[in-house]
Structures are given as C-alpha cells and as structure tokens.
C-alpha cells in the first residue's frame, strides 16, 4: 500500500459507503418515529374534528356527567364522570404505587447488594412486563370476590379494585426509574455524609432523597401518565359504569375504557364515533403534557 499517494484523499472506498448507508438507515429510523407520532395525532384530530367544529361545546363536553351516546331521542356526550373515573382510579393507584415503588427503589439502590440486588432488579423488570389484560384478570377473578367478602359490598369491581391493580401495575416501572434516579446520586455525597456520622437512614433522608428529588418526581409523573393511559386492566376492574364516585366502593368508568368498549360499535363518522375521538385527543394531550413534564424534570437533574 502506498502511503504517500494523496489520491487516497478523494477515493470513496467501501468503508465510506457503509458509513453513508448506516447514517441513512439510522436517519430514516429516527425520523419515522416522529412522523408516526405526528401521523397519529393528525388522524385522531381529523376524526374528531367535525365533532369539535359542530356539536362540541366546552361546558357540555367537560362539565356534564351525562354520557348517553346511544340515546335514541337525545344523545349527550358529557365526559365529566369519565374524567372523574380516570382521576379517582389514577389517584388511588398513586397512593398504592408511590410507597411501594419508592420503598423498593430505596431498598434496591441503597441497601441491597450483590446477588439480592441483581435478582430484585430482574424481578422488577419482569413485573413491568406482565400484560395488562393479566392484571385485569386478577382484578376480575381474585380482587373482586376478596373485596366483596372483606368489605361486605355488593360489587367488587370499583375504584378500590382498579386503583390497587393499576397501582401494582405502575409500581415496577416507577421503581425502575426511581432507582435510576437514586443511583445517579454520586457516591461521594454518601461518603461525605457517612463520614460525618450520619446513619444510613440519615444519609438517605437528608442527602440522597433531596439530591434525587427531581428524578423521583419524574418517576411519579410517569406513573400518573401510565394510570391515565391504561385501558384493559381498568376496563376489567372498574365495573365500567358511568358514575361520579362518592366512595372507593363505587363503580366508575375510565376515559380509555370507554373508547375501547364503544368504538367498535359505532358507525364511522357518526357523532358518537367523533365524540370518542375527541376523548382520544383529550387523552393524547394529557399524557403528552404529563410525559413531557416528567421528561423535562428528569432531564433537569442530569444537566445540573
């Protein structure tokens, strides 16, 4: 090989073409994700658009609890009860998931060592991979009779059932993210606090948790996003009846479950069909905002 020849500078060899090809493939892959998201948004918006343009009135849609889309004489499309259903279930789910996931994350990140730690991490990831219909099945066939028996209520498919199921569903992913946040706290902080005579709990409470608070908040927000978006388990465990809950033993219906249950039975293009898509736009907007906030918060700690 002649090293002195400067004609090499202009030759496009195999490596050069491979490099270009890989760049192109990766570029297409990356761009397509964005294109798909925009495409989905455009599709949902278009389907719901004529409803928003014609029949939609803000107070009637958001502030009425009358969801009667199949009424022959006077169909109404008020989603207040559905929002209340989703919010109550998600709220209870967070009450369940936050202590579990923070506790698990603190244990895995700060206390567990060696093999225990590895096994726990794998188990948490395994739990996160359980399909939601399985969780719904657990709610339907195990939690339902237990709730009826323990609390002596007529129906076990209610806010309590769905909240617990959804909480357990959201906990693994929240644990994973919270653990990452705790691990991102540099060890020198822990060492410095330990050297001052802080006990392990003092190190965690005074130094590690405050330092990781953005990441932990991000984990919680992602859990909330999961709660809003979850469909199948919520459909199966809530009881699916339109209702503004006054206690945790009331059955409710979630926004997502409404779309899943009704979309197949509506005529394409009908007001009902378009109202469901409007709910879709609403959900899309909410989960987008929640995830964006979570992402910005988690990013915030990395940049500091």
């Amino acid at each position: 090989m002649s090293r002195s020849s400067v004609t090499d500078f202009d030759r496009r060899n195999r490596d050069w073409y491979i490099d270009r090809l890989v760049q192109a493939v990766v570029f297409i892959g990356g761009i397509s994700a964005i294109v798909f998201i925009i495409g989905i948004f455009v599709f949902i918006t278009r389907e719901g658009f004529s409803f928003i343009a014609t029949e939609f009135d803000v107070s009637g849609f958001f502030l009425s609890q009358n969801w009667r889309p199949t009424s022959e004489s006077n169909p109404t499309y008020g989603i207040l009860a559905l929002v209340a259903g989703t919010a109550s279930v998600t709220g209870l789910a967070m009450l369940v998931a936050i202590p579990f996931s923070l506790g698990a994350a603190i244990f895995i990140a700060e206390f567990a060592t060696g093999r225990v730690r590895e096994v726990l991490k794998i188990l948490v990831e395994l739990l996160a991979a359980i399909p939601s219909v399985v969780w719904g099945f657990i709610g339907l066939s195990i939690m339902n009779p237990l709730i009826i028996e323990w609390f002596n209520v007529p129906v076990g498919l209610n806010v309590l059932n769905a909240g617990i199921i959804l909480g357990l569903m959201a906990a693994p992913i929240m644990t994973s993210i919270a653990e990452d946040a705790l691990k991102a706290v540099p060890d020198r902080y822990r060492e410095a606090a330990e050297a001052m005579g802080a006990t392990r709990w003092q190190v965690i409470a005074k130094v590690v948790l405050p330092a990781a608070k953005n990441g932990l908040l991000g984990a919680v927000l992602l859990g909330v996003g999961r709660g809003f978006g979850e469909t199948m388990a919520v459909l199966m465990a809530t009881g699916h009846s339109v209702n503004i809950p006054t206690s945790i033993f009331d059955s409710v219906r979630a926004l997502t479950a409404t779309i899943a249950a009704e979309l197949g039975e509506t005529a394409v293009g009908s007001p009902h069909y378009q109202a469901l898509f409007t709910i879709g736009i609403f959900l899309f907007a909410i989960t987008f905002v929640i995830n964006l906030t979570a992402d910005l918060i988690v990013r915030g700690i990395r940049n500091k």
Partner: protein, 259 residues
Amino acid sequence: MVNAVTTGADAKVSVRNLEIAYGDATALSGVDLDIRENEIFGVIGPANAGKTSFLKALNRMDMFNPEMKVGGDIHFSGRNTRGLRNVYALRRRIGVVFPLPVGLPMNVYDNVALAPRLGGQRNRAELDVIVERCLRRAALWDEVKDRLDTLGSLLSGGQQQRLTIARALSQQPEVLMLDEFSIAVDPVTTMRIEDVLKQLREEMTIILVTNLVQQARRLADRTAFFLDGRCVEIGVTEDLFTGEVRDQRTRDYVEGRFG
C-alpha cells in the same frame, strides 16, 4: 483494660498491627503507630501506598464496603474501635476532608449545619452561631456570608474545599483527617488552608495525608512514610528531611528520586 498496657499513654489514636485487605489484595500491613493529641501527623507516600485505606480504617469506613477487611487494633482515646456498637458516634468525633471537594447538593448554610442537625441540634440561633464560627475558621466566611443560601456545589473548587473543612469542623471533631486536600485547589487557597490547619492544631489532632512532600514538611510535627502497603518510617518531620532516617527509601522519596 488489657490493651491499655500496649497503648501509648498520651496517644489520641493508637494503631497496632493494622492489616487492610480488599478481597485477596493486601493494601496495608503491619502498621504500628501512635498519633499524639494536638499534633499534626503527616502521612506521605506514593500512590497505592495504603494512605487512604489507613484513613478509612480509622473512622471505620470499612463498614459499608464488604470487600474491605481490617485486622489489628485501632484505639481512639484509649477505646478500641474494633467492637464498637455505635460507629456513628465515633465518626461524629472525627472530621474528614476528601481529596475532591464535596459540596453537598444543598445551600452553604445547610452544608455546614448538617452535622449539628444530625446530632439533634434544632435551635436556629445556635446553628447560626455554629455555621458562622466554622465558616470563619475555614477562612470562607467573608466570601460567602452574603450568599449562605446559594447551592454549595456552585462555589468554586477552592471555596468548596474550605466549605468541606467548615463542615468537618461543625461537628467539633477531636481528630481532623485530611486526604490530599490540595489536589483540586489552587496554590493560594492551599496556603490559606494550611494557615487554618496551623491554628486548628491548638484544638484538635490533625492527620494529614498528602502527596506533596513539602506540604508535610511545612505542617507536620511528625511524619510517617508509607510505601507499598507498609509503614517504612515514622519520625519527627524535620529529621526525615535532614537525612536522619532509618531507611534509605525514605530519603530517596523525600528528595524526589522516585514516586
């Protein structure tokens, strides 16, 4: 106490037959030395000599590292630290300054007030007094008194290292251990901290691990030379530099022929 016989009577810290290993790798072995009250005790030696491991053993930092095994005896004020039930109480009496400054992710005030708060101090007025006193003694007060509420990690490197010293002082330690404190600090700040240490000698015992031989000469009353996991020499610092040494390697090291 049986050990009282073998312990130097006026020693603040007394080390007997200290062995430190990480897994199978020995980091330090056969160290016997006494550190007297109110002296600055220098520890010099090249990298991997076991200097940092020595400090870690003194305040029982081995507890959280299952790999680290410590053998032999270390007495603190005559009390063997081996069988302590409450290592936290021991650590509260030993201040530590690490090589790289660690500004905890909280404001300047809270950094210094952390140790007293851990000890149960809640009174704001008393905390104010402690914080000001410690920052003054660490020669940092004048620079930060108007911004006690800024994040500690936003201070410059030299300021953070003095903040670390102020934090170490806030628990009123009997022993202050510094591990190569000037590694990330500019020469001017290094001199200021050295002046601080000279004053602190009146009140506490200082163990100064340093890779700067001249720093040990400027500060230490007595100096130990560690090499390859052994304590090769202990003596009055000036003797080490005037050639009155037992081991030729000590002379070679302080004169810069290796390391």
